[in-house]
Symmetry: C2
Subunit: 297 residues, 2 copies
């Protein structure tokens, strides 16, 4: 099929569309704000359509992949549950496919990021890994023998909502004490005293030596390592790939993470610890993976 | 190879050996006490040898499978770490193979139980499941597309040592707040007021209507459901198979487990909950699976 292959990442705050080549390079992008969860779903349709049009211009579009922050029903191309998006239990992919006249694929954002890592990143050397994204919240995906493990509902990898504190902090998902309340971009911002807009701003301040920002990222790294210890005990992966905006902190985050992981892992000292590495595809991973999936049909 | 195929389950309190047929039936068993962790490892060799001799009598033995409560190095046939056994980081399988003059295979007890379920139990209808055993402690195994997922170190499935309470109860593994401190046979006995010898005794009392025993099993079911919620969020399995001695409580345990699982699972109400079913192979599952693996070479 001739024409562009476009990936669109739809997160809690922004819609990011991009033309993606077969080699996984992003050629041109456009961005819109995401309407809130209680908005009319058609407002999100419009935002995504505008971003697509800006990327395509006069050129034909061959396929569109949507990378979505939420639990997804892959077979029906719809969002089943999302803490941030107005698309809920509707016919999103079919509706947009009819509107645009092109095939549309909709998948979970972390699954898309894992596909991008598989095709263009850490998967080139590691056929088995856990991907854990530390962004606004925590996302996860499981890659086994070069394949994404999707689970019975296509919802595997929801590592952010493992309960780590009984009667702990309330989470946007409706539960309490979820890991992502203690080890995410939101937690970094809270721990840094709410003086920063998002986790990436704290990361930048920490890199510049700000002690409170460093302390916030250290605490999040500690909690993240405790969470990883449960996952490593469960899956025993050779490699843990860490993505998402807070992963930009690099060793500021991963140093404390590795210490807490080793301290908190059952049988530590009698087993090989997994490598903990940063994702190769960066913040565009969801978009790249969605375009790859849509292109692959 | 002619001769018996024998499975030997080596738990924290007893050694249980049995002749196992190709159809998974147990024909003859023998039992010995397990020497404690600080005993000379050769005392455990002797106990296992006596149990084997009692099962075999004058008959030739073709293979022996050892099902062991601990982290196992499968390729070298040795226990890497066990909270209960004197075999630690030695050449167990090679040593016993030389002593007995037969092939000896050594594997983790819950992996063996999963193999038994795959060959003779729930695996006949479910190619994908999590096995969680609730015995003295908690064990786990992951079955994907009819295969055991062993992980990079052969240590996948250590669900019992996921931390569920920060600074919680000390665990025999050296960590604190592990799931198995709140949702195991040991926890059942503690919650029932230490008036019972083991989890199975509490289970029997609960089945007979003892209110304190019922309360203890209900509490353990609640914690077990909370732990399962994290695993179901991570793996999204279609089926969770529950084995181990406490599973004999049946619905007394699984009723509260299902309620807590549904309450604690991310996206509940927007996904299918997994079936939670009792293991088919019963308390001999480890022995049966070990014999199956040894027979299969």
């Amino acid at each position: 099929m001739t024409g562009l292959h476009v990936g669109i990442d739809i997160g809690g705050t922004k819609v990011l569309a991009g033309e993606v080549t077969a080699e996984g390079r992003v050629l041109r992008t456009a961005r819109r704000r995401t309407p809130g969860r209680l908005a009319d779903p058609r407002l999100l349709d419009d935002a995504v359509t505008e971003a697509l049009q800006e990327v395509a211009g006069e050129r034909a579009v061959a396929s569109v992949g949507l990378s979505v922050a939420g639990l997804v029903d892959l077979s029906r191309g719809r969002v089943r549950f999302s803490t941030h998006l107005p698309w809920q239990e509707d016919d999103t992919a079919a509706r947009l496919s009819a509107r645009w006249g092109v095939p549309v694929l909709l998948d979970n954002d972390v699954s898309c990021a894992a596909v991008a890592e598989l095709a263009y990143g850490q998967g080139l050397t590691h056929p088995d890994f856990l991907l854990v994204t530390v962004g606004t919240g925590i996302g996860g995906a499981i890659v086994h023998q070069g394949q994404l493990w999707r689970g019975a509902n296509g919802m595997a990898g929801e590592f952010g909502h493992i309960r780590v504190v009984p009667d702990g902090r309330p989470c946007e998902c409706g539960l309490r004490g979820c890991l992502e309340e203690y080890a995410s971009g939101n937690a970094v911002v809270r721990l840094a005293g709410d003086a920063y807009e998002d986790g990436q701003a704290v990361t930048a301040a920490a890199a510049a030596g700000d002690p409170m920002a460093i302390q916030a990222i250290t605490s999040v790294g500690d909690w993240f390592g405790i969470g990883l210890a449960g996952l490593v005990g469960s899956f025993d992966p050779a490699v843990v790939v860490v993505g998402g905006g807070v992963a930009d902190a690099g060793e500021l985050l991963l140093g404390p993470t590795r210490i807490a992981l080793e301290r908190s892992l059952v049988g530590s000292g009698h087993r090989d610890l997994p490598q903990v590495v940063v994702a190769a595809c960066g913040p565009a991973a969801g978009m790249i993976g969605a375009a790859y999936l849509a292109r692959s049909g």
